[in-house]
Amino acid sequence: MNLNDKIQAINDSFSKDKKNFKSNSIKFDDFKNKYLGRKGLLSELYPLLNSVSDSDKPECGKKINSIKNVITKEIHSLGNNLSDLSNNALNIDSSMPGTEKFSGSIHPLTKIIDEIKSIFNRIGFSTIYGPEVDTDYYNFEALNIPKDHPARDMQDTFYINKETLLRTHTSSSQIHFMEKNQPPLRIISPGRVYRNEDISVRSYCLFHQIEGLYIDKNVKFSDLKGTLDYFAKSLFGENVKTRFRPSYFPFTEPSAEMDVSCIFCKSKGCNICKQSGWIEILGCGMVDPEVFKFVDYDVDIWSGFAFGIGIERIAMLKYGVKDIRIFYNGDIQFLEQIKL
């Protein structure tokens, strides 16, 4: 059969099937496959090109394309109008599940970090970063924690060698930033920190922190309180109350611990707040003048405050997680529950 005959045959057959389809005697899918399927009638046309002389090839190719276009268009438009033609032909069970997608998720710790970042970004805190492997100087010395200081017992440290260690807090980022920048400054620095502690339900060998630092002229203790109170209300809701307790960090003076009123029992006392009605959220304080000396800031001009927030602790509270290890094992049944 030559090409032209074949084209004619297909055309005839198509006219007939169109009628059959409209009278419901042929199903749409069968109809479509007969012409457009991988082994449909139209696919039989291209091999016939080989038998055509080279000079005729463009002409014949055009013809094939043309009939292909016509038939494709018609079939598609018939398909689009299916519902108008007949409900039987549509044959849809709308209760069938839609095509499944993988359920993606963002890690709960990322979510908390992002939320805290945005709370502070709103009031002019920029986000900066520091290295996880650092020197003793940045992690301790410049933060007014000399060697042989009892405060070193507060943190069990992983060492690479005598002078190099895995940072035990994000406070080290403060020093890096202050060395390179002059006040006024307002920064937060999220990141991973390490502690040489046995792994248990409540502690892991690493965790995440967000460090904050605000230095300007006349920064007052009441500014620290106001800022962190704003933070707590932004994160936990407008009704939470904050309480500040004296504490000790070598790089701040005065130092404080901030508690928020227990969001679970509305301060009545429960297991989570150990009946106290308060939950400890972060450590903070006015930057110690000794720290300013390390970075050559004039202590008579500048003052400021710093704070450190434990991300896991807040994530555990917000998501009701009891075992800290679940954050690090990649359990998708856990991860999938965290929604954007």
Binding site: Y46, G124, L206, D223, I332
Partner: protein
């Protein structure tokens, strides 16, 4: 540290409830919790039931009259079946508390009858589990007497204080009592521990004390008691020590321990007769010197360890632990009591180095009160004389070569208020300093403050600001309500790209995971090159000796975790720092941020989607991700040299290596015991960031002319690479040919087993005019010719 409420009350009487006291101390910076020790009730007396009648509105209640003394009797409704007239009972009056203050007795109405108190059961009083009925007391007890006293029930509250390292002064009851005094607005009488009178002694003893290492020992005091009798401690002492978790040993050691817990000052007792040549030298260890300590352990000493030595040998490691050659035993009759001040840094270094931490060393390393040496010695002597008899040698040794200077700090009230954002009056400040035992002189606009010797943590003006703030109350300082922003202080977030990647991947069905950055040796070898890895010198265990140099292992472990849970199909990603050693940075390490991706499973198992999770699937997702953040035109180059992967392709943008994608082989997967099929990709985020075209991508003219699509299908040898065909097609025209897509690939043995059929769709468009079919045909023909010549392709 544990402190007893009763003990504290030796110094300051308090009316605060246990929880008020705990809260008050916490607000002052001594974070604490408390536990009952002994009894849980208050205000319970012995009462006599004088009348007992059935309740008119109840079949199980009684209405009783309880007589407490001649004048007062109370109406009480009682439900216990063993209540009857004529018995003595524990009676909780109105205002009494039970269960450590949680339950307060109030006047109540029970079924219409007023009840003015409660007759208690054993369990209600915390004395036992019996709740069958009320407690009935022996006749010997006296009506109206305090129930606790008449029953000889000692009660106490034990506070457990989580002390911060700066407050070494609170490592004893005296120190905590000073804080309690602040809460109670009272003063502690110094006479309580300073003026103790001794029995007049007659004995004499020749003894000499020398301090060779004056840097490490600023003051050394001692006294001698002769003729003591070592025996068991009396009950009061045992109980006191036990209540705060200390074991009783014998009267001498217990007495010293008691003073340690009382004043916070560690003292040591030696058996005088074991000290050779009747002399003591406080010196540093000689090279190679050794000592066997009280716990029987032989310690090799180094030259910075401070020692207490007799004529020839060490008899104690100063401030840390005694030697077993000089300790008190049952036969001891003559003792030497040491009361000294040691350099905190020296004690801490030695304690760390020798690995010995004792109650004494914990206090010395936090610095002690140099002025308490003699009062402490006096108090301990008095107790030992009382418990063990004996007589003191009149001479008290006190070697104190260079007296400490009195610490003075100038305090400016205006600056303080400015710093705190407060408005505290001068009078309030003075009251605060009084409560802290800080003396002051007014000098123009400042106060010249004298710091008490026990507060070694107060050295600068700012330290006093903190003291003022904590006594005034952090929560009494108002919060600021605004903050002004300085625009110039903004810094761009250099890791912003991470957030974009996270959003793209999570909405594309990837779960973000975090994994441990610490790996074992085997894992580090799998993931990267060992020479560049970073080892922890003091790892927690062998499983966590190295810092990760790739995200591969973390993701593989997560895959294994989920495979074990029967998950069949999932995608994971992680963004995190990976680390390498080098020799050009200060830390000798460098850190870069990496993105790891995993596809697990073979094909989608949804009724309407049977996508195959293969190399092309993963490659498509990586390409899509990079395109979405602005990186086009990446190339994939196969790397056949890599171990561990069946297929591995490096990903480049031009010459920039961005990362790789691959199919881990069986051996590699078996190291994690993974059975299923998976793909892995790791991309260097820092390289990606550099590769993003920073120029604002301009939108091409909206007023474009229609485009024409043309398809061709060719039959070509399986050896021919897509990228070569693509390159050839694109090289045919650079004016109107805008792109080429492979839209079908078909391999069929019936066709030709060495060939594949490929269908391409070319897009033609001009920015100047509407294209004519003819001009497109010319290019198509050219393409077909070229394909034929170069690859022997046959158009189908």
């Amino acid at each position: 540290m544990k402190v007893s409420l009763n003990w504290l009350q030796n110094y300051v009487k308090t009316t605060l409830t246990p929880s008020e006291l705990a809260e008050g101390l916490t607000d002052l910076g001594l974070e604490c919790t408390y536990e009952k020790y002994g009894n849980s009730f208050s205000n319970v007396v012995v009462g006599e039931v004088t009348e007992c009648n059935p309740h008119e509105n109840s079949d199980h209640l009684f209405v009783c009259k309880v007589q407490v003394d001649k004048k007062s009797s109370f109406n009480v409704v009682c439900g216990a079946q063993n209540v009857r007239s004529g018995i003595l009972v524990p009676f909780a009056k109105i205002g009494a508390t039970l269960d450590f203050g949680k339950f307060k007795i109030k006047e109540t109405k029970i079924r219409g009858i007023i009840s003015e108190g409660m007759i208690c059961s054993e369990r209600e009083l915390g004395l036992g589990d019996n709740h069958e009925g009320i407690m009935i007391l022996d006749d010997k007890h006296v009506r109206g007497s305090d129930f606790r006293k008449t029953m000889n029930l000692e009660e106490d509250i034990i506070y457990d204080i989580d002390l911060t390292p700066n407050r070494g002064d609170c490592l004893g009851h005296l120190g905590v009592a000073r804080e309690l005094a602040i809460l109670e607005k009272k003063r502690i009488e110094k006479s309580d521990y300073e003026s103790i009178e001794f029995k007049k002694a007659k004995v004499k003893e020749k003894f000499a004390i020398k301090i060779s290492s004056q840097n490490n020992c600023k003051r050394y005091a001692a006294c001698i008691i002769k003729g003591v009798k070592v025996k068991e401690s009396p009950p009061w002492l045992k109980e006191n020590l036990e209540s705060i978790g200390q074991k009783s040993i014998n009267n001498i050691i217990d007495a010293a321990n008691y003073i340690l817990m009382d004043l916070g000052h560690p003292m040591h007792t030696f058996d005088l007769d074991k000290i050779k040549s009747s002399s003591i030298d406080v010196r540093c260890a000689k090279k190679g010197e050794e000592i066997v300590t009280l716990d029987g352990v032989k310690q090799s000493l180094s030259t910075n360890n401070l020692l207490i030595c007799d004529g020839s040998n060490p008899i104690a490691i100063a401030g840390i632990i005694g030697g077993n050659n000089s300790g008190i035993d049952e036969k001891t009759t003559n003792i030497l009591i040491e009361s000294a001040y040691f350099n905190p840094v020296n004690i801490r270094k030695s304690s760390k180095q020798l690995g010995i931490s004792t109650e004494a060393s914990k206090r010395f390393e936090r610095d002690t009160d140099i002025d308490i040496l003699i009062p402490a010695l006096n108090k301990l002597c008095a107790i030992i004389l009382e418990l063990a008899g004996g007589e003191t040698v009149p001479k008290i040794f006190d070697i104190y070569p260079r007296k400490s200077t009195i610490r003075k700090i100038s305090f400016n009230i205006k600056k303080c208020n400015q710093f705190l954002g407060s408005e505290i009056s001068l009078q309030s400040i003075k009251n605060i300093f009084d409560s802290l035992n800080i003396l002051y002189d007014k000098k123009s606009d400042s106060l010249e403050c004298t710091i008490p010797s026990f507060r070694n943590d107060l050295n600068r003006e700012v330290d006093l600001y903190e003291e003022v703030a904590r006594v005034f109350g952090y929560n009494n300082i108002d919060n600021s309500s605004s903050c002004a922003i300085t625009f110039s202080s903004f810094v761009a977030d250099e890791r912003n790209i991470d957030s974009q990647i996270r959003l793209l991947l999570s909405s594309n069905g990837f779960n973000e995971q975090y994994s441990n950055s610490l790996l074992n040796k085997k894992e580090i070898d799998i993931a990267g090159i060992e020479e560049n890895s970073i080892m922890i010198s003091n790892p927690l265990n062998k499983e966590m000796e190295y810092l990760r140099n790739s995200l591969f292992c973390g993701l593989m472990k997560a895959v294994k975790f989920n495979e074990n849970r029967q998950e069949k199909l999932f995608k994971l990603f992680e963004i995190g720092a990976i680390h390498f050693s080098n020799n050009f940075t200060k830390t000798g390490t460098s850190e870069s941020f990496s993105l790891g991706l995993v596809w697990y499973g073979e094909e989608c198992d949804n009724w309407s989607n049977k996508d195959c999770i293969d190399f092309y699937y993963a490659k498509g997702e990586v390409s899509h991700l990079l395109q979405s953040i602005g990186i086009d035109n990446i190339t994939f180059k196969e790397d056949n040299s890599s171990e561990g992967f069946d297929v591995l392709c490096n990903i480049y943008l031009g010459k920039n290596h961005l990362g790789y994608i691959g199919v881990p082989n069986k051996k590699n997967k078996s190291q994690f015991a993974i059975k299923g099929s998976l793909l892995f990709s790791e991309l260097n985020i820092d390289s990606i960031k550099k590769s993003i075209n920073k120029k604002d991508s301009k939108i091409s003219s909206w007023n474009y002319f229609p485009f024409i699509n043309r398809d061709i299908s060719i039959l070509v040898s399986k050896e021919v690479k897509f990228s070569d065909i693509e390159k050839l097609i694109l090289s045919t025209d650079n004016t109107i040919l805008k792109g080429v897509r492979l839209f079908d690939l078909y391999e069929d043995n019936k066709l030709d087993e060495n060939k594949k059929s490929m269908s391409f769709r070319m897009k033609f468009q001009s920015i100047e005019r509407t294209l004519k079919d003819e001009e497109v045909d010319v290019i198509i023909n050219k393409i077909v010719d070229k394909l034929k010549n170069k690859f022997d392709a046959v158009q189908r």
